[in-house]
């Protein structure tokens, strides 16, 4: 199986889909050119290099640079999608989506519902998220819970190159607006990725490890940390099941419950803020739907309810660590009334 980076996997997914369907185009800041590159075309491939090479193959009509006005180009994409195109929009940082919430929350997310199913909005909004690169409070947030909150949006948070490609192809083929979030510290992660086109369906969690003592649910970059914590715990005879839901909306709660039937203990690792985040959401659903399966209280491992710090030491302490996951698991495994 060929080994590819997260970035390559996404680029390949975009390329294969653009070859298949001429209605697909990409749009965003520096996806075709590049700031400070003297007008050189395809200088960057977007701020993180994901669209590199698409301009040469598909031309400027289908690989379009935009001004720094997310409100305008996200609105344009929603309109294009309603009119029969299939835009894939790159927003440099998910933190910038705040300036186009009306276009996302109140327009794109509502079209299908308010037009009685007669309009669809096949639009993908790609953006980076996450802490760990010294990008400070305004460029480091894990805002997927905000979008998960809104009915009418689908929200994807891949954790491996394989899933990134398959989920992106699924997102492009989906007829609803999809928020597709890529952790900026994971673009160079490498994994097995087939050359051809394939899909990973929404709403199907990946179960990455089977163990009978505890279920660890994790998203995005936290999946790798959960796996590492599980490997360390296994040395002490504590066996963890690790579940990556892959999409926060729809959410595969069934698979989480299925694993709880065996483990009875739940730790949720989320890089998002603790209030109204995925950890809080899943803890609430499980408490309501599967209370009888629990042998111990649910434990959340999240950052504190505070902005992402810029100072490297503070940023490192802020992000959930392998040690904190391990400690949370030991806490629930050793819990007694």
């Amino acid at each position: 199986m060929p080994r590819k980076s997260f970035r390559q996997a996404l680029n390949e997914g975009l390329r294969l889909e653009m070859r298949r369907d001429p209605r697909i185009f990409v749009m965003g800041e520096d996806v075709a050119g590049g700031k400070g590159a003297s007008g050189e075309q395809d200088a960057w491939g977007g701020a993180f290099g994901v669209t590199k090479g698409l301009l040469a193959e598909f031309g400027p009509e289908r690989v379009r640079d935009t001004p720094i006005t997310e409100s305008a180009f996200v609105g344009a994409a929603a309109g294009a999608a309603m009119a029969g195109m299939r835009p894939v929009v790159e927003i440099m940082f998910v933190d910038f989506m705040g300036v186009c919430f009306d276009q996302i929350f109140n327009q794109a997310a509502k079209f299908r519902y308010m037009f009685g199913g007669k309009a669809v909005t096949p639009m993908v909004l790609r953006a980076t998220f996450g802490a760990g690169t010294g990008s400070a409070s305004q460029h480091s947030q894990a805002l997927y819970p905000l979008f998960t909150h809104i009915p009418g949006l689908k929200v994807v948070v891949p954790s491996t190159p394989y899933d990134a490609k398959g989920l992106l192809i699924e997102a492009i083929r989906d007829d609803d607006p999809v928020i597709f979030l890529e952790h900026k510290a994971m673009y160079d992660d490498v994994g097995d990725v087939p050359d051809g086109a394939y899909v990973v369906p929404f709403g199907e969690a990946a179960v990455l490890r089977d163990g009978g003592d505890v279920t660890i649910v994790a998203f995005g970059r936290m999946v790798g940390r959960a796996m590492e914590a599980a490997a360390r715990l296994a040395r002490d005879g504590i066996e963890a099941t690790v579940v990556d839901p892959r999409t926060t909306s729809p959410l595969d709660i069934d698979t989480i419950i299925e694993t709880l039937e065996e483990t009875g203990r739940l730790v949720i690792v989320d890089e998002a803020y603790p209030r109204c985040g995925m950890a809080a959401d899943i803890a609430g659903i499980i408490a309501e739907e599967a209370f009888g399966l629990l042998k111990a209280p649910i434990r959340k491992v999240t950052p504190p309810h505070a902005p992402v710090p810029y100072a490297p030491e503070l940023e490192a302490a802020y992000i959930p660590s392998v040690e904190r996951i391990e400690a949370a698991v030991r806490g629930v495994v050793g819990w007694s009334r």
């Binding site: 199986m1 398959g166 097995d192 087939p194 051809g196 086109a197 394939y198 899909v199 990973v200 369906p201 199907e204 990946a206 179960v207 089977d210 296994a234 040395r235 005879g237 698979t255």
Partner: protein, 378 residues
């Protein structure tokens, strides 16, 4: 090193395996063990398997205990005669601990995957080099409907003792291309023969499972001069019946839960289906073009829930060693299809085994395939 001492090493299942975990021992130190006796459970990210004893003697040492993870080829245990002194066993273990794993042999020449361009079809293969006997005629393993080369993971290492082993992914399966023509057994047999030509293999031992058994048999009938022996594991083509619920369910299932029930039909013990196997099949089915190719192959070979082709006459006409291996609990292709075959055909029925003998009873399948290979020579 004393010839009376046998190393038990971490096996390699497939090319991506670099290390494995000992998930349990099935014998205690001091126990007498026979060849082929279940010895330890090995777990990888892909598969869990029971390794059997390669030599008779006493289990003298468990070098890696339950839960230990070691590289492929690493020493995990020692079998020796009871009279071998403890000091000699200690020295044997110490020598292995000191040597880099690659020098222990097994890790040196691992399997290699590649793609072979046959014009219309692109075929993925995996070649496992021979431990000894690199020039011996290779054995080529052909999987069944909906499977892939990984179906042979548990038998490849042992079959590669004395000759190269090649597994392939059929068109529309695994990592191969999805172009499969009319999908018929005759067409797929021609793809197999074209592959042998492309790989420069003049003489071959063929083994096929289920649909792959029918393909191997049809290939042998078309080009008997190329085939030294034929091992057919629960083959199609020897009777009209097939579990069409399985075929239809396999084609339709697109979620883990549905597929688990379908794949459970393959095994005598439905719980043998692990999540990793289910995820692997789903990944395959979610590739562009694969559902269409699988549907075409099913329609060509199992129309209306019956097998389209009868290869009994072709089998009767063959003048080469043929082994037929069948699980008596096979719910997909009726084991009674092994009745009434020509007398020269060596029929083995495995008790308590379903449709996947190479996964359910790998050591036994290796023994039977090796017997056919020995009869075929080369």
């Amino acid at each position: 090193m004393s010839a009376r001492i046998t190393a038990i090493r971490m096996p390699r299942y497939g090319m991506t395996m670099t290390e494995g975990a000992v998930s349990g021992w099935l014998a205690e130190p001091g126990d007498a063990v026979a060849v082929g006796q279940d010895l330890l459970e090995v777990e990888t990210t892909k598969i869990t398997n029971v390794e059997t004893a390669a030599a008779a003697g006493t289990l003298r040492r468990r070098v890696v205990e339950r839960g230990g993870v070691v590289p492929v080829g690493a020493l995990v245990g020692v079998i020796a005669d009871p009279e071998v002194p403890e000091a000699e066993i200690d020295a044997f273990v110490a020598a292995h601990a000191a040597a880099p794993v690659a020098e222990n042999g097994e890790a040196a020449g691992g399997p290699v995957e590649s793609l072979v361009d046959l014009g219309a079809a692109t075929i993925a293969i995996r070649r496992t080099p021979a431990a000894s006997g690199a020039d011996a005629a290779p054995v080529v393993l052909v999987h069944g409907f909906g499977g892939d080369g990984d179906n042979w993971l548990l038998v490849e290492p042992a079959l590669a003792d004395d000759r190269p082993v090649i597994t392939l992914d059929l068109p529309g399966h695994g990592r191969s291309g999805t172009v499969c023509g009319d999908g018929s057994i005759a067409t797929l047999a021609q793809v197999l023969l074209n592959l042998l030509v492309a790989l420069g293999i003049p003489k071959v031992h063929l083994a096929g499972h289920s649909l792959g058994g029918a393909i191997a048999l049809a290939a042998a009938a078309t080009a008997p001069e190329r085939v030294l022996s034929l091992s057919l594991v629960a083959p199609a083509g020897l009777g009209p019946g097939i579990d069409d619920g399985y075929i239809a369910g396999f084609l339709a299932a697109d979620r883990r839960k549905e597929l688990k029930d379908v794949l459970g039909r393959l095994f005598a013990d439905p719980d043998a289906v692990e999540r990793r196997m289910i995820d692997g099949v789903l990944r395959m089915k979610r590739q562009d073009g694969v559902p269409e190719a699988l549907s075409a192959i099913a329609a060509a070979n199992f129309p209306g829930g019956r097998q389209a082709i009868d290869l009994r006459p072709a089998l009767a006409a063959l003048a080469l060693p043929v082994a037929v291996i069948w699980g008596d609990q096979d719910g997909i292709v009726d084991p009674a299809n092994a009745d009434g075959l020509p007398e020269a055909v060596a029929v083995s029925r495995l008790a308590g085994v379903g449709h996947m003998p190479q996964l359910e009873r790998p050591a036994e399948v290796v023994r039977l395939v090796k017997a056919a290979i020995a009869a075929g020579g080369g």
